[in-house]
Symmetry: C2
Subunit: 794 residues, 2 copies
Amino acid sequence: MIRHPAYRIEPWRLTEDELDLDILAQSESLFALANGHIGWRGNLDEGEPHGLPGSYLNGVYESRPLPYAEAGYGYPEDGQTVINVTNGKIIRLMVDDHPFDLRYGELQRHTRVLDFQTGLLHRDVEWVSPGGRGIRVRSTRLVSLAQRSVAAICYEIEPLDTPVRLVVQSELVADEAMPQMSADPREAAVLDRPLQSEEHSHSERGAMLIHRTNVSGLQVAAAMEHVIDGPNAGGPGSVKVEAESSDDLGRVTVTATVAPGERLRIIKYVAYGWSSVRSLPAVRDQVAAAMTSATQSGWQGLVDAQRAYLDAFWDRADIEIDGDAEVQQAIRFAMFHTLQAASRAEERAIPAKGLTGTGYDGHAFWDTESYVLQMLTYTDPGAAAHALKWRHSILPQARQRAQQLGLDGAVFPWRTIAGAECSSYWPAGTAAFHVGADIADAVIRYLYVTGDETFAQDYGLELLAETARLWRSLGHHDADGQFRIDGVTGPDEYSAIADNNVYTNLMAQHNLQSAAEAAQRYPDVARRLAINDEERAAWRDAAAAMFIPYDEVLKVHPQAESFTTHKIWDFEGTTSEQYPLLLHFPYFELYRQQVVKQADLVLAMQMRPDAFTDEEKARNFAYYEALTVRDSSLSASSQLVLAAETGHLDLAYDYLGEVARMDLDDLEHNTRDGLHLASLAGVWIALVAGFSGLRQRSGVACFSPALPDDIARLAVRLTVRGAKLHLEITPKTTTYRLDDGLDVKALQIRHYDEAILLAPNEPVTRPTRRPAPLLKRPKQPRGREVKHRRKNGD
Amino acid sequence: MIRHPAYRIEPWRLTEDELDLDILAQSESLFALANGHIGWRGNLDEGEPHGLPGSYLNGVYESRPLPYAEAGYGYPEDGQTVINVTNGKIIRLMVDDHPFDLRYGELQRHTRVLDFQTGLLHRDVEWVSPGGRGIRVRSTRLVSLAQRSVAAICYEIEPLDTPVRLVVQSELVADEAMPQMSADPREAAVLDRPLQSEEHSHSERGAMLIHRTNVSGLQVAAAMEHVIDGPNAGGPGSVKVEAESSDDLGRVTVTATVAPGERLRIIKYVAYGWSSVRSLPAVRDQVAAAMTSATQSGWQGLVDAQRAYLDAFWDRADIEIDGDAEVQQAIRFAMFHTLQAASRAEERAIPAKGLTGTGYDGHAFWDTESYVLQMLTYTDPGAAAHALKWRHSILPQARQRAQQLGLDGAVFPWRTIAGAECSSYWPAGTAAFHVGADIADAVIRYLYVTGDETFAQDYGLELLAETARLWRSLGHHDADGQFRIDGVTGPDEYSAIADNNVYTNLMAQHNLQSAAEAAQRYPDVARRLAINDEERAAWRDAAAAMFIPYDEVLKVHPQAESFTTHKIWDFEGTTSEQYPLLLHFPYFELYRQQVVKQADLVLAMQMRPDAFTDEEKARNFAYYEALTVRDSSLSASSQLVLAAETGHLDLAYDYLGEVARMDLDDLEHNTRDGLHLASLAGVWIALVAGFSGLRQRSGVACFSPALPDDIARLAVRLTVRGAKLHLEITPKTTTYRLDDGLDVKALQIRHYDEAILLAPNEPVTRPTRRPAPLLKRPKQPRGREVKHRRKNGD
């Protein structure tokens, strides 16, 4: 829990007014900057104190052996772990005789501001050194969304009352010493000094370091250049600059004596590049080119481009919420960070923690497709396409994995950086085959929302077909002809290796159907992929015969076959200290009882709304609410969505507090390792799928808006079929408006059960409904009740 | 496969007439000597060449950390691995200038004989050194059954044609260099040099070494003494003896020049002791006392005692089989080794490989109770009692484990040496809770067969109660009142974490019932164990309501709930190179399909014959025969037993070949790591439970003898209620005879459905039946058909 005095509630910024060293690591995650390619944690410029120093390049990892006391066939032998690459953020400062270090001297004022409109991280500090010298330090940092290989810092120092002698050391540091985050000595052994020096150089005001990772053999280059502006700059003797470099250090030292009213200003440009295939000269040139581009743009050019990039994003994607300033801030915080994680990833994965920390080893999981891509598809469809193209790029590894496992098509890894399966615990890894259907679902969603035929033909059908092939080989028709998928693990990680998980079977059904349809639609591509009529028929048959278990006695869907016959977890006998359960109970006890870590059957109802009647949704939702402990940050947003759909808007609003503040309030106690991207995307899902009721059915965006009492207005901007779609929801009415100026003649949507053909700039207004729930408000397990949402923390 | 020219088929011995260095490790296992306390592999006296040097002390292990790439709550952190203790077998020989090493010079004659009647291992070799000196070396080795801390060797050398100068170095060697058996560097790191020297000393003709294991901290002592008899022994200058010792070596060197017709004879006595708690002086004295006892007995005394011990065993336990000499040899080989593994274990575990090798890390599993104790209870009941007392002795660890897992009573480890769970793969480890019921079943069997009331009160009831408590907390009554045990793993390791495994539920039912009955029978003990009426009632209720799933459509019992709805393994598409399947397919594929590694439902029918009708047995047997691939050496004996019971005597006879020759012919390709004790006990089970049809029901030994065509006569000796019971089965008649001279007035038995009260020395003869099978002979999976048994290899 961040016990910091709450961040200011502001619509477009996150502001910290006090520095609390105990939660430094959390704030480093919250104030992280990234563009999907480079990630810089919000470490202090001077490097120390730090929680977790972090500079990341998407895709740069080190391999490490995965140990097993008892190995088994098909267990992955090597894991991949994100590494802290060359730190280009560091600017150390000496004030007369004292290093600028907030642990000493007196910090008189401290502000950090992350601005979601400008994409800049500002810091403004007034500090008096132990020697009594007062200074003001301002830094502004950006990781460029416009130039993906570039980051920059504007660093300014002013004396407060007496002249000071300043020595600024701006550095590139490789193989920084890392704090011990894990007690596992094996892990530390590999991650200690992952970079081997290949080359280092320096020029008048710059330096470059090139390294290679030890085992994975990736080449990583970082360069810096500086523009220095000080008292009498350029004049004789006033500001002195020296540069040097060694294996793991590039350093530019600026010395100046600055009087009150004067200022020393240093612009630091940093460029990164890496490659697994290109030669050292090629990587060196790539970074030099990025640097040239950065310096030619100049600081103001980069700042302007950042603003323009974000203006365009907010123009097509902003969400306004009246009546809840906290949620207003949270949704923009969430969307800003999601954009940062994905926007320029460009055929690399979007990891679970983005590029904000080393949590989950930097791996990407299924929730990128099932959560993050929900938002991106409607707000930054190009980024969604790139994320799916990355999945397409790892098809060779996924096919090889399928072959190893004796299956057809592609088995996508449960967790990975570069495509190989890195999960060493197969019951909650390889057995969670639903990741394939989740990717297929993201493909289908992307095609629905964008109508991108080129993507469908070049990437989409192949992804659908290879995952459909997997399902066809994984399941079988039983004696009654039903298609069963036995012994797999669904989204809920408190169950494993069960037969006919409803979520998995419904998602596989959709996958098989869609693959068959897409193959019919693109016969030439189908031929290239060797999909024949027989195969399409087999997919259709399997989909049509898909077995969906149902408990006729309880009148609910079991999460998986037999689930509802299991013992119900002893919630009464479980203390609050025993959550999360996985840290206090063995897997087998969790697996064999009715206790749910995270939405599974509920997620099925969200993702396959067509597969359940309203009554089934109401009954199922009530049943699983009583079993779901939300030990995963993924859960609350899905529960919110179904609470809203089943008419429990007050419950949905209560969930909104949890969803919105997950990382801001560190509810899972691990924000220090990085932000939860899927949980952040969940804020968007909560508002859009929850309160506007957005679902995608057969290529049509369907809405069923309904607002809880405390929300006076919800305005949503979406991109659908290239058009900007505005929703303006109030308790009484909902107005749909299609932006003009776009090459879209009309857009088919649905408002509840009414089909509406929306023409540009011809808004349509309809009443907002508020359907009564069929059942009374469901309860969560004792001790895990969702908190009543007090608006704005009152 | 041992490609050695078949061992001679002899009723009482195993003879090797040729030395094949390629299968040295296998023969070292087959020729191993042990007494349950000390184990000596059949390594050559001179130490090299070797397959796997091995000297073991039951209970002596080293700890090693169990690595996990992803750890989980309740995963055991440390494993236990059997270690090679101080080698007391080594007697090196120098013949003039050449070491006696069979890889050099010329081996003119080689014989090794393991004698099941005398308990001696004889070796007789004629060898010509590279220098042209011919010698005959005879050694006789014993590990004393009468004096459990003692082993001894009689070593004799005679020149064949010219006088030779002989140097004999009789040694104790600690921390021998071991061949690399595993590719896992972590394992080797720990097991390399597990012993740290604590003390070493030597006397005129002896030496003692005391060591301590590094991590587990066990003190291990070994001593040797010699009696030397050579030409002109005692005369001046002819035979010289020197002794020395250092940290890891004790050496007595005997030098003599021996002429043809003369002989150098060395008797080597070796004594071992170890302790986890006693002081070094105490352990030193313990070994010295054992040595004194040995030397006072003298070689002939030890030989005589060994013979007497075995005479008594064979007198009460021998099995004669007419018509199949190969099986006759196999049963005595099997019983001899089972006796060696268990007889003097005395409150230590009986490991899966006995003390014959390092396979399975030296761990004991459930099959000790379910297989090995079947034989021991009827043939060496004292050893059976000791094995169960060992289980009783580890109750504290088992209770602690239950507590850790959130369960009541005791959770016995899946694999262990000293009591702690050492299984790092819980789906096939901790989840296989049936081990608790298997132990309870062995207790019930032991009490039935012996009527040992003292044991019942001091050990039995507590074991029954603590396992019953486990079942009561592991299962639950569902909405219909049925008692379900969900999410556990049965004996078949190609399934895991399934609901209501029939074997488990039936065994748990018996466990619960028996615990309730025993608590009623011994109210004082029950009070001490805090068993009250409510608890007994809960046990009885759970047993009475135990859910046993049944497939009404197929009319068979599913191995576990839903099993019969799973896909049937593609046996047609599986090549013979893909067996054992676990080395070529991932667990999840095995778990989710109908394919059976080893008897599970079939074992349930063997262990709970009362729970199935004859028709169910016939149908179930046929169904599971078609699914069972016998990738475990445990399987065939159970399949044999049910084949016999369902009237398929020809099939049972075919299985007999596989069962009888498992280790002798190295059918599992890992006899080099040690013998499969449970599989050896399986030979006894095959003959006794299979062809005499022995089952235990409510304290009565029930027989339903039936012989396959090729067996002309089967004579079985059993110990029941302290009485010797003889069976004489021919195809026509079966005669039951109770030995006289015992303090038993009469014994209740059953012959098929006839109750017989047997009085001492009043044999009863009844017709042997041969019931016709209800169904036609079942088939095994393609490629795994049981071989037609050709009698005596013709």
